[in-house]
Symmetry: C2
Subunit: 124 residues, 2 copies
DNA sequence: ATCTTTGCAAAACCTTTGCACTGCG
DNA sequence: CGCAGTGCAAAGGTTTTGCAAAGAT
């Protein structure tokens, strides 16, 4: 029932090529290099459609508009560069969060966000 | 030089009395019980002013609109109960996040959010 | 009396929606 | 062809800003 339009495939390609979570606006500008007429409404509609299809996961960081990345990456966290505002995946994870759990609470899952300067900004 | 207006004090009182982080809209409705004419613009301007003054800290959780609480709590993280949706402070913190830092990146700070069941919900 | 702060309304954002047209299947 | 998907523009929702009036020092 989902049609494989040029727009839908362009957005998929952009997300796969980026390898990091992108904001709707980042998706828009990158997709417009493939299809210049592609509009922001299509970006939002395609994001929601790909999410329902399980192809796309939201990356929600505190105080930030949601970003999106292709699904199937397994457990990972994010590094937010405070200079260029880009977000990078971190695949290393320390695992003793149980120590932080308050007495009597049950821990299901955790989120970690690291903030700082990415390699590229650091070299400028 | 900040003037101590009725509006500013009302918003301070609301936040102190609540004892939990409030959204701008929650601050508005609670403040209007003290000063009915108080407007949303004043809420936002006062939030920003109190933040600059260091009296107020944002509590930003992934996918949630920002909330605000009075400052002075020191370094802490949050436990978000998935059943009652309340957020609790966690004052214990493990400290080897440097291990997760990608090569070439500089780590300034970190955020941790634990998700699960709080003691009260667990006992129900 | 001065000059910040307020309240209102408009503007600036971001995301969603309505509608006629395009184009995939 | 038929109908889901697109592009545009307009509508919602939230936060910010401009300005005359109110009010704190």
């Amino acid at each position: 029932m989902k049609r494989n339009t040029r727009q839908r495939q362009a957005i998929r390609d952009v997300l796969i090529r980026a390898g990091r979570p992108l904001t709707p606006h980042e998706i828009l500008t990158a997709s417009q290099e493939i299809i210049p007429s592609l509009g922001i409404a299509t970006v939002y509609r395609t994001i929601n459609s790909l999410r329902e299809a399980g192809e796309l996961n939201p990356v929600e960081l505190p105080g930030e508009t949601p970003r999106y990345e292709m699904a199937g990456k397994g457990h990972h966290h994010h590094f937010h560069c405070l200079h260029c505002d880009r977000v990078f995946d971190i695949h290393k994870c320390i695992s003793d969060f149980e120590e932080m759990r308050p007495e009597g609470f049950i821990l299901d899952r955790h989120a970690v966000i690291l903030y700082g300067t990415c390699e590229e900004c650091n070299n400028k």
